[in-house]
């Protein structure tokens, strides 16, 4: 690229100072950025994502730092679903169920039809002991989910029914999971639910 055809005008020293100051700041910003990348990260990325640092901290088990990064991301870009989804996952792992549920709810306000987010919010609700809410969420997620995710969702829904005490529906859901694909966990859960149902029937019969 050749230099500009018309040289910068001589008049207007303030504008000239502004320009040269900006160029200097930008030049040293690039130098500083390159030094940081080469010295600290030891790589030149092809693409920088605002969530990169949060993910790096998760990998280093620095969950507090990761959550700080996720919060910064969601504050600046509150309409991007990824930040809330990933933050919810971390909070769920950390067993901070109320905060995890709040993160997934925020994600759902951005994309109401996200099967993954609905299912994760349902997982948080199960952990909170809010089984009826969880069941409703799993049932909303099921028709929206990809085919390969459905066996897991049927299994999760069955588990929520079982925890809610509805063993009949739980067995139906575990069976639905097994009908779609071989699923060890659903098979074991169905056995357990059938045993629980039998125990409930026996105790009901034994009651005066």
């Amino acid at each position: 690229v050749s230099s500009p055809a018309t040289p910068l005008p001589k008049e207007g020293p303030l504008l000239r100072y502004c320009f040269f100051f900006s160029v200097a700041v930008l030049f040293w910003s690039f130098v500083g950025g390159l030094v940081y990348l080469l010295a600290v990260q030891r790589s030149l990325p092809l693409q920088v994502d605002g969530l990169d640092e949060a993910r790096r901290r998760v990998a280093r088990k620095d969950l507090k730092g990761a959550l700080r990064e996720y919060r910064s991301f969601t504050h600046v870009s509150p309409f991007e679903i990824r930040g809330f989804q990933e933050m919810g996952e971390i909070l769920l792992q950390e067993r901070r169920y109320d905060e995890a549920a709040a993160a997934f709810e925020a994600a759902l306000r951005i994309r109401r039809q996200s099967a993954v987010t609905l299912a994760r919010l349902a997982d948080a609700r199960v952990a909170q002991g809010r089984y009826a809410d969880a069941i409703a969420l799993y049932e909303t997620a099921l028709p929206l989910a990809a085919e390969k995710a459905r066996p897991d969702l049927h299994n999760d829904l069955g588990r929520a029914y079982a925890l809610d005490g509805d063993f009949e529906r739980a067995i139906q859901e575990f069976s639905a999971a097994l009908a779609l694909a071989p699923h060890k966990e659903a098979a074991a859960n169905r056995e357990r639910a059938m045993a629980d149902r039998a125990r409930v029937v026996r105790s009901a019969e034994a009651a005066p």
């Binding site: 504008l15 502004c18 320009f19 700041v25 693409q47 991301f73």
Partner: protein, 354 residues
């Protein structure tokens, strides 16, 4: 590319369907600048070949974004600082505006919750307008190059068709337009969703129907019709902002938009360079030089600049997001000036073939 082409002469031609008068080659102008390639891509996504197409392209997405989208943002800056007469005619933009940009960015990163999110919203709202303005400018530019003189009402109709996808994004986009105004409260329900979807469909039809209407009107009046490139530019813009958005493939729309921009800005740059007295290089040299400058600057701006703020102690999340936002905003503003067609070099390039 917001052109002010009303001052251009009004040539007369035969009422036929033509590709249009190309800058490079009809196929190149139609598929790259006109967006024809993106229409083929969208058909592939809709035709049940979505999975294999995305499977092939997704691993290359970051590289494609760098080669096309990041470079196109840098291209407006490179063009500004190499355009003949820009330092004289656009003094503040050339010399003072970078400091404003640096100041706003630093303030936004320092106060991400108050300023940063507002900057993000401004960028997200302006972005579809910028796409639409570029489409309008290109459509009009090609129509004039191809000898199609539009009346004021026809221009308004064409502008409406170009802006319709922008209105669709305002109606249904997350975090912009209605969503931003209502803060997700008033318009957060299934009935509101279906109303917004209806608006998107309506604007989609406006994008396709109105230019077609203008074309038929010209045909009926036996005047020179809109060239195919102009029609393709308008429809592509609608496809990018509406269809690819809904297909969760907007990242590819940014690549096509970048490609379109890089092509047209390179043409203008190269024509300026070739016209310079004493020029000894050919078009390939100037094209390669311009593109490499854009690629290098694009890399430094998007992938390196955020880490300067990280080095100063700010988080990568706010630095990366807000650097992206400010580069976009700088591009939108610079773009609004460098394409003005006064009686200058741009004007000569557009009209040289008419």
């Amino acid at each position: 590319v917001t052109t002010a082409v009303s001052a251009l002469p009004a040539p007369v031609g035969a009422p036929t369907l033509r590709v249009g008068r190309a800058f490079v080659h009809p196929a190149f102008d139609l598929f790259i600048i006109g967006g024809g390639l993106s229409l083929i891509f969208t058909v592939l996504l809709l035709a049940g070949t979505r999975e294999p197409v995305l499977q092939v392209l997704t691993p290359w997405l970051a590289l494609l974004v760098l080669l096309s989208n990041s470079s196109h943002f840098a291209a407006s800056t490179v063009r500004l600082y190499t355009k003949p007469d820009a330092p004289r005619e656009l003094r503040f933009l050339v010399m003072g505006f970078p400091l404003v940009v640096l100041g706003v960015l630093t303030a936004a990163i320092a106060f991400p919750e108050r300023l940063g999110s507002a900057l993000m919203t401004l960028y997200l709202t302006w972005s579809p307008f910028h796409y639409s303005a570029q489409a309008y400018g290109l459509a009009l530019m090609y129509s004039y190059r191809s000898g199609c003189a539009l009346e004021a009402g026809e221009k308004r109709a064409l502008r409406l068709a170009c802006l319709a996808p922008f209105f669709a994004v305002l109606a249904a986009g997350r975090g912009v337009g209605l969503d931003w105004l209502s803060s997700g409260g008033l318009l957060a329900g299934p009935s509101a969703d279906s109303a917004r979807l209806w608006l998107v469909t309506l604007f989609g039809w406006v994008t396709v129907g109105v230019p077609l209407g203008v074309f038929l009107r010209l045909l009926w009046a036996r005047r020179t019709t809109l060239p195919l490139i102009s029609l393709c530019v308008v429809v592509s813009n609608g496809v990018w902002l509406i269809a690819l958005n809904r297909l969760d493939a907007f990242a590819y729309a940014t690549i096509f938009h970048g490609l379109q921009y890089l092509a047209i800005v390179s043409i203008f740059h190269v024509k300026d360079r070739l016209r310079e007295p004493g020029n000894r290089r050919g078009w390939a040299w100037h094209t390669a030089g311009f593109y490499l400058a854009c690629l290098g600057l694009g890399y430094l701006l998007f992938q390196v600049w955020p880490f300067a703020y990280v080095l100063l102690g700010f988080g990568l999340a706010e630095s990366a997001l807000l650097v992206t936002a400010i580069i976009n905003l700088h591009h939108f503003i610079v773009d609004a000036y460098i394409w003005k067609l006064r009686q200058d070099a741009n004007y000569r390039i557009v009209t040289d073939a008419v």
